[in-house]
Symmetry: C2
Subunit: 448 residues, 2 copies
C-alpha cells in the first residue's frame, strides 16, 4: 500500500495550488495529487479556446508546476475515501494511505431540466479536452449560436464565438441584464453595449422553455412564445459542487450551497484530518459570514493556500470570501471587488458612493488610452470601503486588486483619498485624475 | 485688490490637484490658481513628446479640470509673497489677498558645472512648450544623441528618441547601472538589456568632463579620455526645488534637500497659513522619516491632496513618502514601491526576499503575455512588507500599486500570502501563479 503524508484529490486550480503550497509550507512531507485527467485545462481560459487560443491544447495547466517540486502525480479516479482506515481507493488500484486529505474535486455545470437539453449540439462548459475539441468543431460550423445565461462565462463565450466567424450569436438571460449578479446596472449596460456593438444579440428577462429539433437542435423556445433558430446551444447557467465522494464518505454537506462544510481553517466540519477547498467547499462572505455561491479559480487558489497552510497545524483563520472578479468583453475590461452597491444596500448598509473617470493612460492621446471608470462603495457609518467596480482599459485587471487590498484592510474613504500610488503615462491614469483616489475623495465629501 | 480664500502658486500636477481638492474639501471657499504658463505640460509625459506623441500640444493638462469646478485661473508670474499683508504680488498687477496660500512651484532641471554646457543643442528637460518644440526639431535632425544620466527620465528619453528615427543614442551614467537609485541590480540589468536591444548604447561608471564644439556641441569628453560624437545632448541628472519666492518671503528651507520645510500637515514650518506641496516641498521617507529627494508627480498629487485637506483645519497627518514608481522601456514595464532590497539593508533591516515569476496573462499562449516578475522585501523581524519591485507586462503599472497598498497597511508576508485577488486570462497572471501571493509564500518559509 502506497502511503503519502498528504493526498490531494483533484488537479485543477485548487488541487495544484494546494500541492504547491503544501510542499512549500511543509517541505519534509510527502504530497500526492490524484486526478482523473491526463491533461488539465485552465478553467478560466476555457472560453478563450473558442476564439483567441483556437485549441484546448493551448489552455493547459503545465505539469511542470508539480514535477519541479517533488509532488507525486497519480492519474486515476478515486472511487472511495475510507476515513477510518485513512485510505483513498482508486479505480486502477493506486490505493493510498494518507495522514491528511485535501479534497479539491471542483464543480460541474449545473443542468436544469429544459425539455430537449439532451439534443445534439447542446453543450455545457465541461472541463474535458476531447469534449471541448468536439464542441469547437461544431461551433466552427454553426451559423446560429445561442448562449443560455449571460453571466461571466456566457458573456465571454459570446465574445469569443464572434471572433473570426461569420455567425449569429444570441445571449438569453433570465434577469434584466447580463452580468447582473456581479455588477451594478451601469456596468452591466456598458458591457452589454460592447457585446451589442460586436453584433451579439442580447435577450433579457427571458427563459428558455424548450430546445427544439429532431436529433440536433434547430431552435430554442422562449417563455414569451418566440422561437429562435439555433445550430448550437451553449448552457452557461452556473455550476454545482462535486461532492459525491465526500457525501459517500459521510462528510458534512452544506444544505444551502450543496458544498462540503468547512470551518475557517478549511477543515471539514466533521473530520479534521480532511480539508476541502475550491468549488467543492463552502465559502462564506467576508462581509456577513453567510455562504456564498461564488465559484472562481482565484478564490479556489486562496482557499487551497489556506488549506495547505493549516493541514498539519493551525496557522491561519480565513477571513471569508471578498469576491474579486474581472473579465474582458471586446476591448472593455471590467471588474468588481467586495460588495457592489446593490449588495451593500441589501446587506443593510447606508452607503456612500464615490466615482471617478479618467483615461487609462495619460495624456489621453497616448495610443490605447481609453476612458476608465471607478466606483467605490463605502459604509456611511464609518467610511469603510465595502466594494468597488471598474471598467475601461486593461489596467482594470490589477486596479480591481488595488481595491481588493484596500477592502481587506478596511481602509476608509479618508485613507483611500490619500493612497500613495505610482503612475506612468504608458501604464496608468494621470496622478491628478487617478480614479481610486478621486473616487474616494468624491465620497469623503458625502460622508459629512 | 482681489481676494481669495485660498491662493495656489503653480499650475502643474501639485497645483492643479491642490485646486481640485481644495474645492472639494472646502466647497464654500474661493480658490485662485496663479501660474506663469498659458498652457501646462503633463510633467511625466514630456519624454513621450519626442516619440509616441510627436508634439508638446498632445501633452497638456486640460484647463477644463479647473474651469469645471469654479477655480479662478490667473496667468501671471508671482514676484513676491508678502506674509504680513497676506498678499501675493504679480508682475502684471494681478495682486491677490489670501487667507491661506499653497506653494506648488515645482522644480527645475539641476545643472552641474560641466564646461561647454551652454553650447547649442545641449538641452535640459524644461517644462516649457516652446523650448521643447525647438528641442524636438533639433532632435529630429540629430544623428548622434547623448543622454547624460540614466535615471527614469534618461532611460525614457533614450527609448523615445529611438522611435521612428535612424540615429545613435547613447546614455552616459555615472553609477554602475542605469536606474540604480530606483531598482535593485537585477531589474536594472533587465531594463538595460531592453535598451541595448533597441540599439541604445549604455556607458556606465563614467562622467562627462566637457561638452565640446564651437557654437554647437560636436562631442562630449568622458572622464576616461574617450570622446563621443554628439549633435545633441540631453541632460537628465535630476532636479532642484523652485524655492526662490519662498526664500525671499523668509520661509524655512531645508538645508539637506533645498526644499521648503513643511510639517506632516504640509504646513510651512515657520508660517502655518502657508502650505507647500510637490517638488518644492520637503518630503520625508515613510520608513525612517528622513528627507528624501524623490520628485515624482504622483507624490506631488498626494501631498497636494493632503495640503488641500489641511488648509483650514487639521484633518490628516501624512505618513511620509512610500515612493512608488513605474515606467516602460520598450515593451518592458517596470516598477518599484517602498524600499528596494539595497535600501532596506542600508536602513539596517534584516531582510527576507520572496520572488515569483509568471506570464502576465494566462495561459502563457494568450497574445501579449510576457514573463512578469515580482520581488518582495520583508523585514525578518516581524515579516512586514517593506517594498517590492516588478517587471514585465503592462499590468505592472497597477501591480506595483497593489504592493503599495500592502506596504501602506504594513501587511506581513503571512497576510500577503493569503491576499484575495481577482485574475482573468486576458488581464493577469494565473491565480495559481499570481506573483504577489507566490512571492509572499516564498518569503514565509524563509521567515522561520
Amino acid at each position: 500500500m502506497l502511503k503519502s503524508d498528504v493526498v490531494i484529490i483533484g488537479g485543477s486550480a485548487a488541487g495544484v495550488t494546494a500541492a504547491i503550497s503544501c510542499k512549500r509550507r511543509n517541505p519534509g512531507k510527502t504530497v500526492t495529487l490524484i486526478r482523473r485527467e491526463q491533461q488539465v485545462l485552465i478553467p478560466c481560459g476555457i472560453p478563450y479556446i473558442f476564439g483567441t487560443l483556437g485549441t484546448p491544447q493551448k489552455n493547459l495547466i503545465p505539469d511542470t508546476m508539480l514535477s519541479g517540486i517533488d509532488v507525486n502525480l497519480v492519474i486515476d479516479t478515486v472511487k472511495e475515501i475510507n476515513r477510518e482506515k485513512k485510505i483513498v481507493y482508486t479505480e486502477n488500484g493506486n490505493d493510498i494511505n494518507f495522514d491528511k486529505l485535501i479534497i479539491a474535486t471542483g464543480s460541474t455545470p449545473a443542468l436544469f431540466p429544459i425539455p430537449g437539453i439532451d439534443k445534439e449540439n447542446v453543450f455545457v462548459v465541461k472541463k474535458d479536452i476531447s469534449y471541448l475539441q468536439a464542441m469547437l468543431g461544431k461551433l466552427n460550423q454553426a451559423r446560429d449560436i445561442i448562449i443560455l445565461g449571460g453571466g461571466f462565462i456566457g458573456a465571454e463565450f459570446a465574445d469569443e464565438c464572434k471572433k473570426g466567424r461569420d455567425n449569429n450569436v444570441t445571449i438569453i438571460e433570465k434577469m434584466p441584464h447580463c452580468l447582473q449578479l456581479a455588477f451594478d446596472i451601469e456596468f452591466c449596460t456598458e458591457a452589454e453595449s460592447v457585446l451589442s456593438g460586436r453584433g451579439i444579440k442580447i435577450i433579457t428577462n427571458q427563459t428558455v422553455t424548450g430546445i427544439l429539433g429532431d436529433k440536433k437542435v434547430t431552435a430554442v423556445q422562449l417563455e414569451n412564445g418566440e422561437r429562435i433558430n439555433a445550430d448550437a446551444v451553449i448552457i452557461s447557467t452556473g455550476v454545482v459542487p462535486n461532492t459525491e465522494l465526500a457525501q459517500k464518505a459521510g462528510l458534512k454537506i452544506s444544505a444551502s450551497t450543496g458544498a462540503i462544510s468547512v470551518d475557517r481553517y478549511m477543515r471539514v466540519r466533521n473530520d479534521n484530518d480532511i480539508l476541502a477547498c475550491g468549488d467543492c467547499a463552502v465559502k462564506v462572505s467576508y462581509f456577513n459570514g453567510i455562504p456564498v455561491k461564488t465559484w472562481l479559480a482565484s478564490i479556489a487558489t486562496h482557499e487551497a493556500r489556506l488549506a495547505a497552510a493549516n493541514v498539519f497545524e493551525t496557522r491561519y483563520s480565513g477571513l471569508g470570501t471578498v469576491g474579486v472578479f474581472s473579465t474582458q468583453i471586446g476591448d472593455l475590461a471590467i471588474g468588481a471587488a467586495g460588495l457592489i452597491e446593490k449588495q451593500a444596500r441589501e446587506n443593510g448598509y447606508n452607503v456612500v458612493i464615490g466615482t471617478a473617470k479618467a483615461p487609462s493612460k495619460h495624456p489621453g492621446g497616448i495610443p490605447g488610452a481609453v476612458p476608465t471608470m471607478v466606483k467605490l462603495i463605502f459604509s456611511k457609518n464609518d467610511g469603510v470601503l465595502l466594494g468597488g467596480e471598474a471598467s475601461g482599459g486593461a489596467c482594470v485587471g490589477e486596479l480591481i486588486n488595488v481595491i481588493s487590498a484596500c477592502i481587506q484592510h478596511q481602509m476608509t474613504a479618508y485613507e483611500v483619498s490619500l493612497f500613495q500610488m505610482g503612475t506612468h503615462p504608458m501604464l496608468c491614469a494621470s496622478p491628478i485624475a487617478y480614479q481610486i483616489v478621486n473616487a474616494a475623495e468624491d465620497a469623503v465629501m458625502k460622508l459629512k
